[in-house]
């Protein structure tokens, strides 16, 4: 068994995820020009120890400056970037990363295995590590073997580990050792990376400008002279700015904007259905939700097609598990509760006590409108719902992490490996078990999925997981993670928006 582990792990690590047919053949790329992209939130910075987390905007900006060790093309194939190979020892405890020889940082300094090892050791520093405990999993240490070889040592085998090197991820943003040591508090705002673009100007609250990195290893892939990321928090303003040509692209449009843009020859819609879903978390540790019948009743009472129509303007796909039809982890029949108000009433009658609940949402249209729908559906089966509106950010997240909530609207992220989605949030002994579910069947499935190195075993485990979730209902599923961007027709070569990220690394534009 052990002798087989190596090649199998390779297969898992770069499994095809979110496979979609390619669009029409793209014309020859043109060089030059500028892309302006509007963002919905601000870039936090480029130093993991300072930012401690990375929102989507931060991840996109970092992707330009630091690029990746490996990327996936639209077919899901692994493409080497800063790295050329990643192999594991037969026991799965030691991984060896080979770097592309001759890499340079944008400031001209050589990019070596020592910089990579130094960066990981800095992140793994025990006094800070709790921030990244979930993300760094069983990783213990990183050691530079020579200038182009880094060895990663794990505490126990971890199937999802190679994914760290495959996705845009703030943990792998390696800066020159010298810079990390001397820049002090400015490190966060003065990134130096080996990616295709380098940051040239940061206007806080306004925009960040990137220009071509002259030291990038692959100049053929650098088409744009300049990329500007502009913070534009108002959704209507973003759409107007696109139509007036102030910006070239924005993501996370409103449903009605997608509908409008589809009928507008001057605009282009980019769409991607990822894994993950929008959800309503249920705190299973407090009454009445400690009774599974109440949780099931909540699900049966909802007509999700109405939500799709009203809350999302009919744009999107209803989720029955975290992995939709596009995903290789998709499980066709999980038995997610159908709309059946009579059944909901019967379950509540069986439960026997009146049910009054509090639903935590953010004051955004995408949450508050569906929340009101839920309220009225639940009203019909005799559940009284109070909607509690809390602005997004720590004040929204912390009560859920502490278990100080009843129901909360949430999002399960689109990530390349299911382990990231299920282990922390649903394993009974995990510190981040947000629904407080303690279910032996789920635990068994999660554990198997995490430890096994056999793809088929893992697929079956995650199928079991989805079916048990549909029975236990620790979360209500809403929409499959659908990602949209609207662009001007001049923008080309935007790859699949995995995790909702717009990757501009190899984009190009027609001249204005």
């Amino acid at each position: 068994m052990k002798s087989l582990a190596g090649p199998i792990i390779g297969a898992i690590a770069f499994a095809l995820i979110g496979l979609q047919p390619c669009g029409a053949a793209e014309p020859e790329p043109k060089d030059g020009g500028t892309i302006v992209m509007a963002t919905t939130a601000q870039v936090q910075g480029f130093d993991a120890l300072t930012t401690r987390s990375a929102n989507r905007e931060t991840t996109m900006a970092g992707g330009l400056v630091f690029s990746n060790f490996f990327t996936r093309n639209d077919k899901g194939d692994r493409v080497p970037d800063l790295g050329t190979a990643l192999d594991s020892s037969p026991d799965g405890l030691t991984w060896t990363l080979k770097l592309r020889p001759g890499l340079k940082f944008s400031n001209g300094a050589p990019y070596t295995a020592h910089d990579v090892a130094n960066h990981f050791q800095r992140i793994l520093n025990p006094s800070r590590n709790q921030m990244f405990a979930a993300a760094t999993g069983s990783l213990k240490e990183a050691v530079a073997i020579d200038d182009t070889t880094v060895e990663f040592r794990l505490a126990y085998p971890w199937a999802a580990f190679p994914s760290i090197f495959l996705i845009d991820n703030f943990l792998i943003w390696v800066m020159p050792t010298e810079h990390e040591k001397t820049a002090g508090p400015d490190l966060n705002r003065r990134p130096i990376g080996a990616g295709p673009y380098m940051m040239t100007e940061w206007k806080q609250d306004d925009s960040i400008t990137f220009e071509k990195n002259p030291n990038y290893w692959n100049p053929k892939a650098q088409h744009l002279d300049k990329i500007v990321i502009r913070f534009l928090p108002d959704p209507t303003a973003r759409f107007t700015a696109l139509k007036t040509g102030d910006i070239d692209i924005f993501y996370e449009p409103l449903g009605k904007q997608v509908v409008a843009a589809r009928g507008d020859k001057g605009l282009k819609v980019v769409e991607y259905v990822g894994t993950g879903a929008s959800t309503v978390n249920i705190n299973t540790s407090v009454p009445p939700f400690d009774d599974v019948r109440v949780r099931q009743a909540l699900a049966h009472a909802l007509d999700r097609n109405i939500e799709l129509k009203v809350g999302f303007d009919g744009v999107g796909t209803l989720a029955t598990s975290f992995w939709g039809a596009n995903s290789e982890w998709h499980c066709p029949d999980v038995g997610y509760p159908e709309y059946n108000p009579e059944k909901a009433k019967a379950l509540l009658q069986e439960y026997g006590k009146p049910v009054k609940i509090v639903l935590q949402v953010q004051p955004t249209a995408i949450m508050s409108i569906p929340a009101q729908l839920y309220q009225s559906f639940w009203q019909k089966v005799g559940i009284e719902t109070e909607i509690r509106s809390i602005q997004g950010g720590p004040s929204y997240i912390n009560p859920v992490l502490r278990g100080d909530y009843q129901l909360a609207m949430w999002e399960v992220a689109d990530v390349p490996d299911p382990d990231f989605q299920v282990y922390q949030a649903f394993f009974s002994k995990s510190g981040g078990n947000i629904t407080r579910i303690k279910d032996p069947v789920l635990d068994q499935a999660i554990e198997t999925g995490r430890r096994s190195l056999d793809v088929d075993v893992r697929k079956k485990a995650y199928c079991d997981f989805s079916k048990e979730m549909a029975l236990q209902m620790p979360i209500l599923l809403r929409m499959q993670s659908n990602y949209f961007a609207i662009t001007l027709p001049r923008v080309h070569n935007i790859p699949l928006m995995r995790r909702g990220l717009v990757r501009l690394n190899e984009a190009w534009v027609d001249p204005r």
């Binding site: 601000q42 806080q204 928090p233 102030d246």
Partner: protein, 313 residues
């Protein structure tokens, strides 16, 4: 005049000290541990203690206040816990945007409100007056974001006269700077002029019944001269008060307009800092905004004295 100025200046100093202490205490006494907010809820006690020591949170309150006040007086408000950027640097970045927006919008509002208020007071009860009052009432009821979006739709999207969003510093390109600020300033001005108009009109109608206006007429002076040279100044007290309040409110209150037009102003930064629990930044913003309020009030007091010689005594 000098003694009035000195008296006000002395009071200004005292108020500023109180404001500084209040903004420090406000943020310090708020519940919630900064270290926990930074490290997450799973943080070990040792890590929390280490971060608290790094931030100086383990020192006594008074010492921390004196330290903070010393920095405040030197213009050093510390560094943001979240981005590590010096707070003063962030504020100085945004302040020009906010001040420019504040002056432009209030200037525009006065430019609409003063002639309209004077004319309508002069022609009180006429068609023009009724029309202006109806428009003012309508705009007073319209939320500023509706005005902002309508203006953007009309001038940016349909007519393409002005850019829809964004900001260019004045020193980089004055023309583009004004083009970018025109719509935001107009949106605020449209929302603010009705109250200025209403108080000026009411005060002006009262002034126009005064004997000294009758005397001015009896001197053979023309209506424009009488309205602007005789009646406007004595009618401007409430106007100046409201204008001062509106200017002060624009420092932190232009949030909606800043958000829609993508302007990097203080209001948006403060809101962001609150959501991120970026206490140092919030504290710095609150201090600077409070100082702004106090300075504007000081300015309003000085304008009172300029308007009416009787105030100076």
């Amino acid at each position: 005049m000098m003694s009035y100025f000195l008296r006000k200046l002395l009071r200004l100093g005292v108020v500023l000290l109180v404001v500084a202490a209040a903004s420090f205490l406000l943020m310090t006494l708020l519940p919630g541990d900064v270290a926990l907010a930074l490290l997450g809820n799973d943080a070990t006690p040792e890590a929390v203690a280490q971060v608290r020591a790094e931030l100086g949170l383990d020192q006594p309150l008074l010492l921390r206040y004196l330290h903070w006040l010393g920095g405040f007086l030197r213009g050093d408000l510390g560094r943001s816990y979240i981005t590590q950027v010096p707070v003063m640097e962030s504020i100085l970045d945004r302040l020009p945007v906010t001040i420019e927006l504040m002056l432009l919008s209030q200037g525009l509002a006065l430019l609409i409100a003063v002639p309209a208020g004077v004319l309508c007071a002069y022609k009180a009860g006429s068609r023009i007056d009724q029309f202006a009052n109806a428009v003012a009432l309508l705009l007073l009821a319209a939320p500023v974001f509706i005005l902002a979006i309508l203006l953007m739709f009309l001038f940016a999207l349909k007519l393409r006269w002005l850019p829809s969003t964004g900001y260019v510093p004045f020193m980089t390109d004055p023309v583009r700077n004004l083009a970018h600020l025109a719509l935001p300033a107009l949106a605020i001005a449209l929302a603010e002029w009705p109250s200025l108009f209403a108080v000026l009109r009411a005060d002006m109608i009262r002034t126009l019944q005064q004997d000294y206006i009758a005397l001015a007429k009896a001197k053979g002076l023309g209506p424009a001269f009488i309205l602007f040279r005789h009646a406007l100044r004595p009618s401007s007290f409430t106007l100046v008060t409201i204008s001062g309040l509106q200017i002060a409110a624009t420092i932190a209150g232009a949030l909606v307009v800043e958000t829609i037009f993508g302007l990097p102003g203080i209001g948006r930064m403060l809101t962001g800092a609150v959501y991120n629990r970026d206490m140092m930044l919030v504290q710095g913003c609150v201090a600077v905004i409070s100082v702004g309020y106090v300075l504007i009030n000081f300015g309003v007091d000085l304008i009172y004295a300029l308007l009416d010689p009787r105030v100076r005594q």
